[in-house]
């Protein structure tokens, strides 16, 4: 006679695709948004306050750089004399240190960006594709510099730079090695965010199964899809290089920032002019990178 019986599971033979009821959708749309984005009016207020806070010092700097002479009867004269003075050959010797500093800073920018592209990016890709368990370790290593004050880093860099000077000399560009470490957290984050939005493993496997070698996988699949993160990392790197003062100063390198501080004591107008120009340069860079990043989505990829 029969005994106890049980049943093995099976997928249901009938399944239905549930449609979203329109009434429920309407109710959800009408319900208050807790923790959602602010209302349009609140957005406008926040934007205006932020813009005012941001613009006041810039406008003040521009106003200061346009001042000509002392106020007469409380009336300040304005002009572009200080701007012309910067490019006057007669003042060449006065501003030579500044222009050298700018040249050095741009060189350091280029080398630091190269460090990011040649060292950090391939490392991140390698970890993502081949050693995903090391992702946390890499993130930790890249975040460390942000947790250490610059002055503490300088103390550590000084003995290191004794060796750097022996090997590479004391040219200002060698500062890129130190700055390359400082920018790690800033360069890592946008690339990591871009990577997190993509399934790079599947994309690379799909391309390999279609006959692509690793070089083609990087060139045609990974890099185009990481363009936005890479550009952002490069931009932030440049911004950090142009803003870093402590290390350059303590390692006695003439860069844009240090020369600007020196110049401030002798010609504050020109110092402010260059500070404004640096800001404009940063904005332009941001706009270009934003354009390039968004263009990537719309542009038809041509193999």
């Amino acid at each position: 006679m029969s005994g106890r019986a049980s049943v093995a599971p099976m997928s249901p033979q009938l399944s239905a695709v549930s449609a979203q009821p329109s009434a429920a959708r309407a109710r959800r749309q009408q319900s208050p948004r807790f923790g959602a984005e602010p209302s349009p009016a609140a957005r406008r207020i926040i934007l205006t306050v932020a813009a005012v806070i941001f613009l006041i010092p810039i406008v003040a700097m521009v106003e200061f750089s346009l001042r000509v002479g002392q106020p007469v009867n409380g009336v300040q004269g304005y002009g572009v004399a200080h701007y012309f003075a910067v490019f006057d050959p007669a003042n060449g010797s006065m501003y030579r240190t500044l222009f050298q500093g700018i040249g050095n800073s741009l060189t350091i920018c280029a080398i630091t960006v190269l460090i990011v592209l040649v060292l950090l990016l391939p490392t991140m890709l390698l970890v993502e594709l081949k050693f995903p368990r090391l992702r946390r370790v890499l993130e930790f290593i890249c975040i460390i510099p942000i947790t250490i004050p610059s002055i503490v880093l300088v103390v550590g860099f000084v003995p290191v730079y004794h060796t750097v000077v022996r090997v590479f000399g004391s040219a200002p560009w060698t500062l890129a090695f130190a700055v390359g470490i400082i920018v790690l957290p800033y360069a890592y984050r946008p690339i990591a965010a871009n990577m997190a939005a993509l399934d790079l493993v599947v994309l690379s496997e799909a391309s390999r199964s279609l006959g692509a070698g690793w070089a083609d996988v990087f060139r045609l699949i990974l890099l185009p899809n990481l363009r936005r993160g890479i550009f952002s990392a490069c931009f932030i790197t440049i911004a950090v290089v142009l803003g870093e003062y402590t290390i350059a100063s303590f390692l006695s390198r003439n860069v844009f920032q240090t020369s600007l501080v020196l110049l401030k004591s002798t010609d504050p107008y020109v110092a402010v002019i260059f500070a404004v120009l640096a800001l404009i340069f940063g904005f332009v860079l941001l706009l270009i990178i934003g354009r390039l990043g968004s263009a990537g989505r719309n542009r038809k990829a041509s193999l």
Partner: protein
């Protein structure tokens, strides 16, 4: 097959023969594949079916070259490809997750494999358009992945895998992310295209209904091994183990007794499907459609009755409190609590150790 072949996509040579010989794959101390042996004939459609973690995707990835095997051989048309990198195996693959390249249009995605094979621009555009037409997406060729539905993305992925006319097509649960209706439509299309192109295909799924519906043969996998391989009918009617009987279709597990070559199940003596078995208590695996609600037999009480479209499945409780499912015509309706009688229709039964 020439890499720059210009013949239309439908006129292709039959697929390659595939053989896995003693394939072992270890992840550290974890063994994912324990000496898998599998032989696939040219143009055959094989489904690898099994629960999560049974090694079916690992086997597919090993065949694709995306996983290096620890031991064993993988032969394609008799050539061992174990040491051939993935990009040189000439195998098309469709992945479980949407894998279209986001920065390319559908057409550019499909063209990618041809581009890697240095096919001339005009030729690859023609073949890409032709293959997109094969999956019914010729009008969406200019769209990017984010402008396509999940089903459309998987069709493009299928076209992308087919356009190079690979020797073998691998499908790694390509339908699992799709809703039920699209899943059924797409699996029928995959089968149609596979039959049309005669391409050797391995299809990984954990959905037994899907595997039985499309495959010529189904390999049921368990713990890194192939438990049984056979046609869908063979697996359903003559499973060689309790695991297969449970995994493929619905089985009632009923206590029974073996005496000689016969098993006594629900009072009826049946021959054994799986050959001689030591005498004594066993578990009998009985399909719901092998039971019938009759005017006389074993007394039972109706618990629930579910309408499944073309049939009805009723859950019964026997006098000893055991639960049994019976499948019957939709016109026979039984109210919960009603008393009924149960009879066994089949003449043979699969038994396993209790």
């Amino acid at each position: 097959m020439s890499l720059v072949e210009t013949s239309p996509i439908r006129i292709t040579a039959p697929g390659a023969a595939v053989e896995l010989v003693g394939v072992v794959k270890d992840y550290g101390s974890q063994r994912a594949l324990s000496g898998v042996d599998l032989s696939v004939k040219p143009g055959e459609f094989i489904a690898l079916l099994g629960p999560s973690g049974c090694g079916k995707t690992t086997a597919l990835r090993a065949l694709a070259g995306l996983e290096q095997v620890t031991e064993g051989h993988i032969l394609i048309d008799g050539t061992d490809v174990v040491n051939v990198p993935a990009n040189r195996r000439d195998i098309g693959m469709v992945f479980q997750s949407y894998s279209l390249f986001p920065h390319m249009t559908a057409r550019e995605n499909v063209e990618f494999g041809l581009r890697m094979r240095k096919v001339a621009t005009a030729e690859r555009q023609r073949r890409a358009q032709e293959t997109l037409a094969l999956v019914g997406l010729e009008n969406l060729a200019g769209r990017y992945a984010h402008q396509l539905s999940g089903g459309q993305q998987q069709r493009v992925a299928l076209a992308r895998a087919l356009v190079t006319r690979p020797r073998v097509l691998l499908l790694d649960e390509p339908l699992s992310a799709l809703d039920a209706k699209v899943r059924v439509q797409l699996r029928e299309e995959i089968r149609r295209i596979q039959t049309d192109l005669k391409i050797t295909t391995l299809f990984v799924t954990h959905d037994q209904e899907e595997a039985l519906a499309v495959a010529d043969r189904v390999a049921v996998m368990r713990d890194g091994n192939i438990e049984q391989i056979g046609t869908p009918e063979e697996l359903y009617t003559a499973p060689n183990s309790a695991f297969v009987a449970n995994f493929v279709g619905l089985s009632n597990q009923i206590r029974a007794d073996v005496d000689g070559n016969l098993a006594t199940v629900l009072g009826k003596r049946l021959t054994l499907i799986n050959g001689p078995h030591p005498d004594g208590p066993v578990i009998a695996f009985v399909r719901p459609e092998d039971l019938v609600i009759a005017k006389e037999g074993i007394a039972a009480t109706v618990l629930t009755s579910s309408f499944l479209g073309s049939l009805r499945r009723t859950q019964l409780r026997l006098a000893d409190d055991s639960i049994i499912f019976v499948q019957h015509d939709v016109s026979d309706q039984f109210q919960p609590g009603a008393g009924v009688y149960l009879k066994l229709k089949s003449k043979s039964v699969l038994v396993g150790p209790r």
